[in-house]
Symmetry: C2
Subunit: 350 residues, 2 copies
Amino acid sequence: MKWLVFRWAAGALAVLTLSLQAPAQELVSKLAVPARELPIPNTVSPELQKVLARPVAPQTEMPTTAEGWKKLQQERDAVGEATAKARAERLGVKIEAAEVGGVRCYRLMPKEVARGKEKYLLVHVHGGAYVFGAHLAATGEAVLLADACKMPVLSIDYRMPPDHPFPAAPDDVLAVWKAVLKDHDAASVVMGGTSAGGGLIMTTMLRCKVDGLPMPAALFIGTPGADLSKTGDSVFVNAEIDHVLGRYEGRIEACIHLYAGGHELKEPLLSPIYGEMSGWPPTILITGTRDLLLSSTVRTHRKLRAAGVPAELHVYEGQSHADYLFAFPAPESQDALAEIALFFDRHLKR
Amino acid sequence: MKWLVFRWAAGALAVLTLSLQAPAQELVSKLAVPARELPIPNTVSPELQKVLARPVAPQTEMPTTAEGWKKLQQERDAVGEATAKARAERLGVKIEAAEVGGVRCYRLMPKEVARGKEKYLLVHVHGGAYVFGAHLAATGEAVLLADACKMPVLSIDYRMPPDHPFPAAPDDVLAVWKAVLKDHDAASVVMGGTSAGGGLIMTTMLRCKVDGLPMPAALFIGTPGADLSKTGDSVFVNAEIDHVLGRYEGRIEACIHLYAGGHELKEPLLSPIYGEMSGWPPTILITGTRDLLLSSTVRTHRKLRAAGVPAELHVYEGQSHADYLFAFPAPESQDALAEIALFFDRHLKR
């Protein structure tokens, strides 16, 4: 047996590239990308195609006063509330207002609780850029999760700006979690939410660690607000492509600053990607290829894996931020909900 | 206990959207995206940043004759061979030419075979757009896999155009697999490869099913050539952003047509995304947020999951097509290799 032995200058390594790549060239500091027209993806269901064909959210004048914000919140949340109610009726999910740990919440009960799941609880934290989604609007995603996971859901109607900026929201989520722990085994409880909800769940894990509190059995973190600063490659690549968020500047940035109330955006309790993740529960992450927060999601996934957390990632073709929620009942939306339910089932205490 | 009951017209459902999204508007048939400048991602290691700062591969005149193709192949594969040799020396991986099932191959032996892994085998199928990566250039990725997985590797130097278009390459991979099955328990063998290699592995699974052959214990499919047609959202979104592939038209398309030799590109043996995937082995998929084949990878992931195959996805921040190979030894490259090794360890027969 004759092994080939190679003797090459180690210094040559750095400049070598594989066959497909062009020979080494000058490096660039910015990449100029020409204007183009993108077709609506034809690699998704007809139902989802209709959602993906929505125009990119226009840049509207954002409020500059508390009253202006409240008016905008009322307008938007009326739409969110209507969605939640319509879904609840369609799916036969019952919703009841409740107070838990001194925080306004909703208890949701699906038409059918799977056998053995009566003792489980899914704690839901809604999205809405830390500004929208108050009251019944909070339950638009919770209804879908209750139905898909076939277990009771507790959805937190946390306080929001302009009256209650950071840290009111994470304080409320933590207060609810502490109250839940009083009458639940943490191994029988999961936590889930999208966007701001995902970010707030991550923040809550950071605080559980500091306070020595038990963590849930598993987490669902959908396209999380893990980094509130303008950081992450997809914030640039998918700007003006993500039809839900549009771009970081303007609308989204205004919400973030209203919420942060002057705090440094990279504080881990605002941008939990900068926190320490060892010991977190198993986590399922969901995003889409056109998501402005694609990078936020995959960076969170990588950081969880590096911390030794069993974390799995699902990226949906052509979807912008949280399209899996907006597109319900498109097949891809049901598929994402089924993945979440399966993941929770695998990790909840028998 | 008083449940709120909602009565809403079911017809109202279709037009309702959640809070963050703008009110329903006219749908668009194309999305116009303005020109922009993208910064080099600062969310990756300094080593990887240097790779991501390489300019997008320029559009060069592609050959029109067999002789022209052979000249280009020799030039490119000389670079690939140098990379493979330098890596082999650096990592202490031994490479030996071999013939298996009548097909030219290389046997690779890492400096250290992990205890108990002597009986395992990783069958490697190289990338290179079905045109490049011949002979020793085939082993550039195999060397990294041998070192990371600490097991013997058999890398297939399959036939390629212009002399040997489709189906020579899948025929060769299948011939090697049949030969491997003669002296290996399939449960002790895994298969892995990137780009064209990933596509050829998928094709081989389709043929295993037709022929009733055992499949490997697990697969690594890196940013696969799963769809040779211009299909998938990232082929449009990441055009002129993926610094490795550039765009579908021109260079890549010329390679695909040289390989396909006039066959319909959506035949499952050319574009295995259109094949039937039930019963495939557990599969790990790897891609990057700037990858022209991001959609090819996530579509494959979703189709595998829908077929009930345990499949896990890893998406790396800011990376273009197969950057995890080109960037070695950047930390992200080592991280991807470690994920592959971990996945194989979990699924190989004890």
